[in-house]
Symmetry: C2
Subunit: 287 residues, 2 copies
């Protein structure tokens, strides 16, 4: 396993972690000031700051972009909606390329309308068919641009609203179907928060291998967890076996960034400096 205690070049901060405290340019500055090696920015944060300006700032700072969050949300109630989602994903691919991101992370979507609390369909099988077809279409475009797509399985408790792909196995089945040659154009972004419980996690990480492991996200699962969305824990504060899982990921050949992504009402209420310093301390000691 890599030694993370020394420097921070393999550490990436997913910028959602600080979205309530700072605008993206200030997050970049704070990361650079600490010697953090990478960020994974969100689209809305990039749009607010301006794509060209962010790309310029990140490049000048020598910061890597471990991923771009996020494409996906493919299923729709009608053909126009499906087309609009594909068009938006092509834009996301282009933005990821402008940022020189390592991959575009896909949160694939699920029941149309569910994210707004008004699902217009209960047919998750249909959503999964739309997801498969839409990843295929987006992959064609992304290969032309040279931007790898990373499918992120979300926790099953988010299966109705956010992602109908909820296990690493399912995500890898899709990769095998659409990229049987394991070209590196399509892979997965396992996040311990979403996958820690899975009895097949170790075997599926091994199955993914270096070619399919395009990102690795960490935080922690709190006991008890009080909210289905915004109660992620800081690494070390929950029950995820972070070292064990990272050992599996690195044994499979992964050499990329360790990305900290914490959606948490608790941490969003703390000063940005405290959050970043805590991320660093935990990264060096418990990840």
């Amino acid at each position: 396993m890599r030694d993370l205690a020394g420097d921070l070049r393999h550490l990436s901060i997913n910028t959602a972690t600080l979205r309530k405290q700072l605008a993206l340019p200030a997050i970049v500055e704070a990361c650079v000031a600490r010697g953090i090696g990478a960020i994974c920015p969100w689209r809305d944060q990039v749009h607010a700051a301006g794509l060209a300006a962010v790309a310029k700032q990140v490049k000048a700072a020598g910061l890597a972009v471990s991923g771009y969050c996020r494409g996906g949300f493919f299923p729709a109630a009608d053909a126009a909606g499906l087309r609009a989602a594909l068009e938006d994903n092509r834009k996301a691919v282009d933005e990821a390329k402008a940022l020189d991101a390592a991959c575009l992370v896909l949160v694939v979507g699920s029941l149309p309308g569910a994210l707004a609390g008004k699902p217009t369909s209960k047919d998750i099988g249909l959503a999964r068919t739309q997801v498969l077809d839409s990843i295929a279409a987006t992959l064609e475009y992304a290969k032309g641009v040279g931007m790898p797509l990373a499918v992120e399985p979300l926790h099953p408790m988010q299966a109705a609203e956010r992602a109908s792909i909820n296990t690493l196995e399912h995500a890898l089945d899709i990769c095998d179907a659409l990229d049987p040659g394991r070209t590196g154009a399509l892979g997965v972004a396992p996040d311990v928060y979403h996958c820690w419980w899975d009895p097949k996690l170790e075997s599926q990480i091994a199955r993914a291998g270096q070619k399919r492991l395009l990102a690795y996200h960490v935080c922690d699962w709190l006991v008890p967890t009080r909210d289905l969305l915004n109660d992620r824990g800081m690494m070390g504060d929950g029950i995820v076996e972070l070292r064990k899982i990272r050992a599996w990921v690195e044994a499979a050949g992964y050499t990329g960034a360790i990305e900290v992504e914490i959606f948490s009402d608790h941490w969003w209420a703390r000063p940005a400096d405290e959050v970043l310093d805590t991320c660093i301390a935990r990264y060096q000691t418990v990840v």
Copy 2:
């Protein structure tokens, strides 16, 4: 598929659904008065009313007992804890037999201490090993008594506190390991609340078949779901494809009860008559 609109003999009420409104004898009376065919009582409710009295009341009423909730919670921090859990499960087997229950439902447990908010271990792999060994030991005893054991996979969001078996596939792997002859002594209790999201649900129900399908639980998954434990929906109020899943279950050979189990702060606050009448109406129209 069976026609549920006519009578209620295949309907079972899991008595947790009314635990805040009525004691068990009154739940039994209310079910019998409506022609409901079965109940699935909880141990604490049975203990409060007295095992012998409940057994007598249920038998006199001609009510079936579709299952007994619940055995399990096997993992422990030390050998004494493991032994105590096994002893308690033998008692649960005996109680289930006294009630002439169709099966003892197992919620297998997970990280020791987690249910009380103080996990003493993060090793879910160890918990799973303890679960496998403990089911094996309990199965030996239960076979002697003639009481089938039904493993209930719980939703992955309850993987730390309540059950380290979170998919039907995992539960069936354990059944195959411990009961390769498919004798009927060990099976599964799929609950749509816990399993609806699983892309392998249809295939694993078929794999289970009549010999392993010992129960079938229904409620609904609300969008949004606001609590990880007590926000289950009434059938028809959420996004679970109830008819589709029941078709899979019955195609696999299941002929047992359809058990309604709703943990819900909303429904616990409603009058018992309203809850039961709504369960019946939804059972007849959307299940």
